[in-house]
Symmetry: C2
């Protein structure tokens, strides 16, 4: 069985466990990049925003249900407006109109996205939802001026088949993620990552206008670091341990765990950079990493538990059935309480910030 | 209290009472117009579909949850493709791409719309959802080549305030619709209709490209006919009677009925035509009426009951509370059984088909 990420959006709705209320970890990283995005739009966007430029189109690929996407979009619009204003005689302006394309899987909760967006009276853009996997085309050729995606491309289109196959040398045994402990598993994930990244860049290359910008925010491993060494990898492995404990208690089964592996892959920095260069649809205008703004402080167990819960609920429920999630994250909370994460000792994923320009 | 239609989409989801399963009455009328749309696109669409024409944009305003909208859109695409093919040397073609904007209120069930659309492998267009009332702008200037709306503009943006005000001479008393029996009520509805139609045409006038087409399908009264004389008006008045009976039984209250009047208005043919001409954003390329294709046959009570139920459930529930709808439509079914509609004697709404060209 391969596990496809197409069917596993972030937790929908707006209750206490939803992505809406548990995406502040991502938000902090995204906000930290705002000033960089602003500078890049002012310096790198290769478009003549002349006075007859009528509609500026922005897309957020993998937007989930908000609210992070609304902040990002507003910040881009503010910057484009100020540049448009500078480049044109105030009096000759046809007011620039903005159209924002919010993309995510067809199973994403677009109803909640639309209901929670800023009211039309306060919104400076026409809002549309675009259902479909961003690993294929979702928009017409040459139709987007600025594309954005954040915290999305670690989701592969599916888990590599071999890692869920007990007969394969790439079988991921009792692990539920690619933690880089098993070489054949890492290889299989890497093949899938290359295929998906290529599909992503090819599709965006067609959808963006020449000279348009694509900003990508996410997390990767520093070169030479394995995921199991990081605190995030440790939490995921601990979730795997909790599932094994639950199998021993008969709440789920080892067979189910054997054929489950998350469609998630964190490349190392150079690996990601190499892929973008090899694909060739874009020039790299900026590619840098920073530590996550919250990295310096010890995150509470409660915060960690609820962030991972929002991230994993849908896929866990789909594979292991209803009624597993509450128990699983209760157990995670207890394990983290007993064995607190040593943030000083653990290695860390880093936040990358990439600006690409369509050739 | 004024009753706004913004909050009352067609019945959502896909259960037995949903719009998805109870929109065949509309479907028959829409299908009947397909050949006309085809001819109009071939003859009237004033666009050079030259070989560098890249993206053709279509919008369905008030699309609800399908499936009718998908048929309409496919039929438009087939025709545009055949015209594009004729107008260009086959070899010089950049393949034409289609983007379809599915618009409806923010409260529309877009999740169901997206899940029930044809799968992307069979779909020849990029699909997007556009949340917002079509009585205002929902898309950028000059961005749509063909717009379409069917069975939507009888929904006003709200019921006129005076008709729900017991102190007003335009109070609609115990009626729940504008059945044209009370002159002051009809006047108040007409004012609202003119305001809304103007807003609709102004917005579409900005959104469509010059030379683009807007097709409108719906129902209106023949000149000189009042709604209470038609079988559809009779069914609605009967629903009002059922509510009054339920008030007498204490299931709802007369007070609630007193301040309830549907935000629905059926203009007479000349009234509608006059409004389009007065607005002036479009030229009328075609405007004709036909009887509804099912008009000749006696519709079953079951069909009538379920069609009106899908149309009214949301607004009835919102105003009268949960648990009223089942009882109400049971009572309607019984009343119709006791007093069957005499389709021969009753007058009828007619289906209008309008093609407008953006000046």
């Amino acid at each position: 069985m391969s596990t496809s990420s197409h069917l596993y959006p972030m937790s929908s709705g707006d209750d206490q466990h939803s992505y809406i209320h548990n995406s502040s970890y991502q938000k902090v990283a995204i906000s930290g990049a705002e000033e960089k995005t602003r500078r890049c739009i002012l310096e790198k966007l290769d478009l003549q925003l002349s006075s007859d430029f009528s509609t500026f189109r922005i897309a957020d690929f993998g937007c989930s249900t908000g609210p992070n996407t609304f902040h990002v979009v507003q910040s881009i619009i503010d910057t484009v407006k100020s540049r448009h204003f500078k480049e044109n005689n105030e009096h000759s302006l046809v007011p620039l109109e903005f159209q924002v394309f919010f993309n995510d899987h067809t199973t994403n909760d677009f109803n909640t996205l639309f209901k929670t967006q800023p009211p039309s009276s306060e919104r400076e853009y026409f809002s549309v939802g675009v259902p479909g996997s961003f690993y294929g085309r979702v928009l017409p050729r040459n139709s987007i001026h600025i594309g954005h995606t954040s915290y999305t491309t670690h989701w592969l289109s599916k888990a590599p088949e071999h890692v869920c196959d007990k007969k394969s040398i790439a079988w991921n045994k009792n692990y539920i993620q690619c933690n880089n402990l098993l070489e054949e598993v890492t290889k299989a994930y890497k093949v899938q990552f290359i295929e998906d990244m290529d599909a992503f860049l090819d599709a965006r290359g067609e959808e963006l206008v020449p000279g348009g910008l694509m900003t990508i925010i996410g997390e990767c491993l520093p070169d030479g670091v394995s995921l199991y060494e990081t605190w995030q990898g440790f939490v995921m492995d601990t979730i795997g341990d909790c599932l094994m404990d639950m199998a021993k208690s008969g709440i789920t089964s080892e067979e189910k765990i054997d054929v489950f592996s998350l469609p998630v892959y964190f490349p190392q920095f150079s690996e990601l950079k190499g892929e973008i260069e090899r694909n060739g649809s874009f020039t790299i205008e900026l590619m840098e990493t920073t530590s996550h703004p919250l990295e310096g402080m010890a995150l509470t167990n409660e915060f960690i538990t609820s962030t991972f819960r929002a991230f994993l609920t849908t896929i866990i429920e789909k594979h292991f059935g209803d009624g597993v999630v509450d128990e699983l994250f209760d157990r995670l909370a207890k394990k983290l309480y007993k064995h607190p994460i040593d943030f000083e000792m653990r290695k860390k994923l880093v936040v990358y910030y990439i600006v690409l320009k369509r050739k």
